[in-house]
């Protein structure tokens, strides 16, 4: 019987003795990292092309509008209508970027790794929703803010459109919250990024086409009382209705919208439905 010769060496692993920052900071970190990722920062060059290109397209009308203000002294692009005017670009941004936020984590089944930290399912969902909402707000707010600064610098005759600008900023918050919750809800149902993009864009194209179609048919047959309801099937017109009701901006559609209070309730209901959908989806994905 020989004595055991094995030894345990202390190779100097050390415990973490610092402050543990907890759930809030974990959520914040995930949110910031997701937000950077939406614009392609911290990712490959190829991932940066799409979001930055779309951002550049969003800025084009601003550049044109500032040019016209400086040279022709005319105000051509009202702030509250910017999002409706650029809705196709915003929809493409939403469709292209919301699957990035949720699909890879589902596809590579790394959700349990996140949840082994202090982060809860709700924190994860909140971080992802907030990241996309902030990104969309930036996409909407940066062009109109640049245009507003341009308007102040050019100093057109007459007062600046400050109320319109602030109303449009408020509207941008609404657009960001509605679109991000719907985008994440739709994208999180598939772990495939390509299919996620298709689902989100199909949602936008479908609602936009149906709303235009029914509006045209209903108003051409003289049912002017129902026609505006068809219009708000399109999420962009829904938010525009709420925006003009809450902030008193001029509506894009001259023929009138349904009553603002109803539109507000519909907006809230859609957001609540989408967020509940995401939460339920992740309760299932996490287990």
């Amino acid at each position: 019987m020989t004595e055991p010769t094995a030894v345990i060496h202390d190779i100097g692993y050390r415990h973490y003795d610092g402050v543990r920052l907890g759930r809030g900071r974990a959520t914040l970190a995930l949110g910031v990292q997701s937000l950077r990722g939406v614009f392609g920062f911290g990712r490959t060059t190829r991932a940066k092309i799409m979001p930055l290109l779309l951002m550049a397209i969003m800025l084009m009308p601003t550049v044109v509008s500032i040019g016209v203000m400086a040279l022709a002294k005319q105000f051509i692009m009202p702030y509250p209508g910017y999002a409706v005017f650029m809705q196709a670009v915003i929809a493409v941004f939403l469709a292209a970027q919301s699957p990035y936020l949720v699909a890879p984590d589902l596809r590579f089944r790394v959700l349990p790794l996140y949840l082994s930290r202090p982060l809860t399912v709700t924190d994860y969902v909140v971080a992802k929703l907030a990241a996309l909402a902030v990104a969309l707000f930036g996409l909407l707010a940066v062009p109109i803010t640049i245009q507003f600064v341009g308007e102040l610098l050019v100093d057109l005759p007459g007062p600046p459109h400050t109320a319109d600008y602030l109303g449009a900023l408020g509207g941008a918050v609404l657009y960001a919250v509605l679109l991000s919750s719907v985008g994440i809800a739709l994208a999180s149902f598939t772990p495939r990024r390509g299919l996620g993009v298709a689902v989100v864009i199909a949602f936008y194209m479908f609602t936009a086409a149906v709303s235009t179609l029914f509006y045209a048919v209903l108003s051409s047959t003289g049912r002017d009382d129902v026609a505006p309801w068809a219009l708000i099937l399109n999420p962009f017109f829904l938010v525009d209705t709420v925006q003009s009701a809450l902030f008193g901006t001029a509506p894009i559609n001259d023929e009138g919208y349904p009553p603002g209070i109803a539109a507000c309730l519909i907006l809230l209901a859609v957001i609540a439905l989408a967020v509940t959908g995401v939460l339920l989806r992740y309760r299932k994905a996490a287990s």
């Binding site: 799409m50 929809a91 493409v92 469709a95 299919l195 993009v197 298709a198 235009t212």
Partner: protein, 238 residues
């Protein structure tokens, strides 16, 4: 054309969540037609609007996008295409097979639902139903070919396809008349216009331009897909 590859691709397309989008959109078209029929009764103008803006303008590019990229892009994304490419099957044959699968799916789903919806609204009046069915059939085939090509050219095939369908055909085509000449939707509409004699409908691109353009684009896209597959490099996912 390789039947084994076609069989596998059909199963991959029809057995997943993808099928829901392929079914939902055509069903929605028929439901919309039924709703409009309830609201308005038989109405040729409504039928033409529905066909132009929804069937050809919304459903067709989406179906083309889902089917065209769906037959090849997921395999590239997962890297499983390497098993297919390592088999002694010529790459152009693989491309043609994938194209046939995608085109047949789009053609069936788009054409059948288009005919049903148009028939619900107009019956067989002035050839609206047959015209748009023909347009959807050939437009769908062209879309399938173009989006199949996109699927092998780029990782972001769906996003690029969406930009083409929404921004180029929708927004740019709306403001710049010249852009409409290079839009599959418009070619499909000129086919439809050739058959239908509806006074509410006129296409902007002549048939003499649309048909050759459609053939060139479809054949060109499939051939290019085959060439591209011969030298496909698989890079890691970001």
């Amino acid at each position: 054309m390789n039947t084994v590859v076609a069989d596998i691709t059909y199963r991959a397309m029809l057995g997943r969540k993808r099928i829901w989008l392929l079914v939902l959109l055509p069903v929605a078209l028929v439901v919309l037609a039924a709703l409009l029929r309830l609201i308005n009764g038989h109405d040729e103008q409504t039928a033409v609007t529905l066909m132009k803006s929804f069937a050809i303008g919304t459903m067709l590019p989406l179906l083309g996008l889902i089917a065209g990229t769906g037959v090849v892009a997921p395999e590239i994304e997962d890297g499983t295409i390497i098993h297919l490419l390592s088999k002694p099957i010529s790459r152009p044959v693989i491309a043609v097979t994938k194209f046939v699968v995608a085109a047949s799916l789009v053609a069936v789903f788009a054409a059948v639902s288009t005919y049903a919806a148009a028939y619900l609204l107009t019956g067989s009046e002035s050839g609206v139903a047959t015209g748009f069915t023909l347009g959807a059939l050939f437009g769908g085939i062209a879309y399938a070919a173009v989006f199949l090509l996109l699927g092998v050219l780029t990782r972001h095939a769906v996003a690029v396809g969406v930009i083409y369908a929404l921004v180029w055909e929708g927004v740019v085509g709306g403001y710049v008349p010249g852009a409409r000449k290079f839009s599959i939707q418009q070619w499909a509409q000129s086919l439809a216009d050739q058959v239908s004699s509806s006074p509410f409908f006129s296409s902007e691109v002549t048939l003499g331009f649309a048909v050759p353009a459609m053939v060139i684009v479809t054949v060109g896209a499939v051939v290019w897909t085959g060439q591209r597959l011969r030298s496909l490099s698989l890079t890691g996912d970001e």
